[in-house]
């Protein structure tokens, strides 16, 4: 390279300058764009504004994760509709728009740029940690607070002051679960099966760390891919170690298929997992008989645990004609926290809104939210068991 360049410095230097100019222009343009569109920096975006408050919900509405996205949207929409019925915030309506990220991080980042340019004040979602992590830097730069339904510890590692979780992290879910399995149940032989997606990887690391701290090494640690459909190789290995319980770290549908196939292979040990294992999609996919005795670590076990959850479930049923579950409840809590922060800050945006969210103390369906610097507001889950196709609290 260098040798060919020396004899002809002129011919070579011209295109390089042109390229540099182009890069500079692009950078300047990008800077100008973000500067213009960052909410809270121009006058008409701050409290003085009287128009509707624009809030975006981003969640998968198509693809294998669409049921998750659908629950999240329904929960968030319910909260926003309730606030609007009560007159909104300072007389301003909350205008909500749904974006479909298809569970895909690239689509997510494109949506993030749209949120910036269309001056959304805050974002609710997504349920997919990988998508949220992909969107994070863009939203942080534009100072748009984001209340996510993701639970991966990677969200905390992002260290964005504009990112808040509406539920516990994988570490919380899985250390509670590991403690229950090892200390309360006395299980020593625990097999693991997780997928290599962002959720599964998070679950894998968090659970493995938790059981090792309790002095237990898993009998086998099987990793599958997110689009795998056939699990006999992994399940046969698990069967040969004769585990007392099998930890599963995978989303609803795949986890359902794993459990279904495990039962067909004659594995009788109960499964144990986090949020996805408490959902109707998991139970339907595997079949009611197959999921009996599944141990679930979840901050929201059923609609009957408290007066607040009963009220929420009734409103959800009235609005959508469907039974409420964890993900709707999470998004409902998240949306309520955002709206409460908007009220206490008189409809502020940007940094002020993020600070208001951090200061919000909220008694939600999932527990008492108190945000720390990492953006995590809740650090407790409870243990439930599936009996007759229903998730019930562990007695």
């Amino acid at each position: 390279m260098t040798r060919s360049r020396t004899p002809r410095p002129r011919a070579d230097s011209r295109p390089r300058t042109a390229a540099r100019t182009a890069v500079c222009t692009a950078a300047a343009l990008a800077a100008a764009l973000t500067a213009c569109s960052a909410p809270g920096e121009s006058d008409d975006d701050t409290k003085a504004s009287s128009g509707p408050i624009k809030v975006a919900v981003v969640n998968a509405q198509s693809g294998q994760l669409s049921s998750l996205g659908d629950w999240e949207y329904k929960g968030a929409k319910l909260a926003i509709d309730e606030w609007n019925e009560k007159g909104g915030i300072d007389g301003r309506k909350i205008q909500v728009k749904l974006f479909d990220d298809q569970g895909d991080p690239t689509t997510g980042t494109n949506i993030a740029r749209r949120l910036v340019s269309e001056k959304y004040i805050a974002m609710i979602g997504t349920a997919e940690s990988a998508v949220t992590i992909a969107m994070g830097p863009v939203l942080q730069q534009a100072k748009i607070p984001n209340i996510t339904s993701g639970q991966s510890d990677g969200l905390v590692a992002l260290k964005s002051p504009y990112l808040f979780l509406n539920g516990p992290t994988s570490t919380t879910y899985d250390s509670t679960l590991a403690e229950h399995l090892v200390k309360d149940k006395g299980y020593k032989k625990i097999a693991m099966i997780t997928n290599n997606g962002s959720f599964g990887k998070g679950e894998h690391d968090a659970f493995l760390k938790a059981v090792k701290e309790l002095g237990v090494t898993p009998s086998t640690d099987q990793v599958v891919t997110t689009d795998q459909k056939e699990f006999s190789a992994a399940l046969t290995k698990i069967r040969s170690t004769k585990p007392e319980v099998i930890f599963i770290g995978s989303e609803e549908v795949e986890a359902g298929l794993i459990v279904k196939q495990a039962r067909d292979l004659g594995i009788t040990a109960p499964f144990a997992g986090a949020a996805p294992q408490g959902t109707p999609v998991f139970i339907d996919t595997a079949g009611k008989a197959a999921v009996e005795d599944t141990i679930v670590s979840s901050p929201y076990l059923s609609n009957d645990t408290s007066a607040a959850s009963k009220k929420f479930a009734a409103a959800y049923e009235a609005a959508y004609g469907k039974e409420a579950e964890l993900h709707g409840a999470k998004a409902y809590d998240g949306a309520n926290i955002l709206l409460t922060a908007l009220r206490t800050s008189n409809g502020a945006s940007g940094e002020e809104l993020a600070d208001a969210i951090r200061d919000t103390r909220y008694k939600g369906l999932l527990g008492d939210f108190r945000y720390d610097e990492s953006g995590v507001g809740i650090t407790k889950t409870t243990i439930g068991v599936i009996r007759d196709g229903e998730l019930v609290p562990q007695r």
Binding site: S62, T225, E230, F231, S232, A233, A234, T236, S240, G287
Partner: protein, 289 residues
């Protein structure tokens, strides 16, 4: 040993489904020289239709399957009819047309059945068989038997019936076939509808094994397409061998390479295609463009 056999059994059942998908790809390619990219999504529609007639209309599983096959065969006819004016004129546009139909079918599925998808319960209630510690699901046996019947039926149709022979003739030389009075359009329509029917058979059968939603086509299509390539695109026995090979390969890769199994499957597939670009049963390619 037990583990190896169990992995083999698991791979064969899904492999049988991939073989059915590959057969549909191959049949249309063989007759028209066209890769029908909507094929996987037709399989998805077939899976949805079968599950709807089975679960919602409470028809017996076999009847639901037959109705689903009829529905997708009709869809196949429609696609062929729309593409027919392009035949021998703009081949690329025909290819893009099939991609377009795939997208339309996915959108239609979401419109009709929503985004959530559904779990289909197995129509066979008996417990898995236990052969020396290897558990074989009775439903998997059913799938393999139906797939085998479909292969034999298609082979018989192509070799022994007049219409089948006409389709073969069109595949070899469509101008000569036209000259001897074979209706090429009708032959193509037949190929498309049989291909679509096979897709529904694959989709309907895989429903109780997996989960039916609008993205099912993606899961079946890539493996089915790879199976058709591996066996030799256009070859019916090749589709069967390719399907089973991909199913088993996938299953073993999952066992040995865990999280990297997809990568390994497709690396092996790529290597195989590089060594034998025409596939195992590679015939000369049909080129109508």
């Amino acid at each position: 040993m037990q583990e190896t056999l169990q992995t083999l059994v698991g791979g064969l059942s899904l492999g049988a489904v991939y073989a059915l998908v590959a057969m549909g790809f191959s049949l249309v390619y063989r007759t028209m020289g066209l890769v029908n990219f909507a094929h996987a999504d037709i399989a998805m529609i077939g899976a949805y239709a079968a599950s709807t007639f089975y679960l919602t209309s409470k028809l017996p599983f076999a009847v639901a399957m037959v109705v689903a096959i009829a529905v997708t065969a009709a869809i196949g006819l429609v696609i062929e009819r729309v593409l027919r004016p392009l035949e021998n004129k703009d081949f690329d546009l025909m290819l893009i047309g099939t991609i377009g139909f795939g997208i339309v079918l996915q959108a239609v599925a979401i419109l009709i059945w929503g985004t959530t998808g559904r779990a289909v319960r197995s129509p066979v209630r008996s417990a898995p068989l236990d052969l020396f510690g290897v558990r074989v699901r009775t439903y998997d046996l059913l799938v393999m038997a139906v797939a085998a019947l479909a292969v034999l039926g298609l082979a018989w149709f192509l070799a022994r019936t007049k219409r089948g022979a006409a389709m073969q003739a069109v595949a070899m030389d469509h101008e000569a076939a036209t000259a001897v009075g074979i209706d090429v359009g009708r032959s193509n329509a037949l190929a498309f509808s049989i291909g679509a029917g096979l897709a529904a058979l694959a989709g309907g059968l895989v429903g109780p094994m997996l989960y039916v939603d609008a993205s099912l086509g993606g899961a079946l299509g890539i493996k089915g397409f790879a199976a058709a390539m591996l066996g030799g695109f256009g070859s019916i026995p090749g589709a069967v061998v390719g399907g089973l090979a991909i199913g088993v390969l996938d299953s073993y890769a999952a066992g040995h390479f865990q999280g990297y199994s997809v990568l390994v499957t497709f690396l092996v597939f790529t290597a195989a295609i590089m060594i034998r670009p025409m596939g195992v049963f590679g015939e000369r390619t049909v080129s109508r463009a």
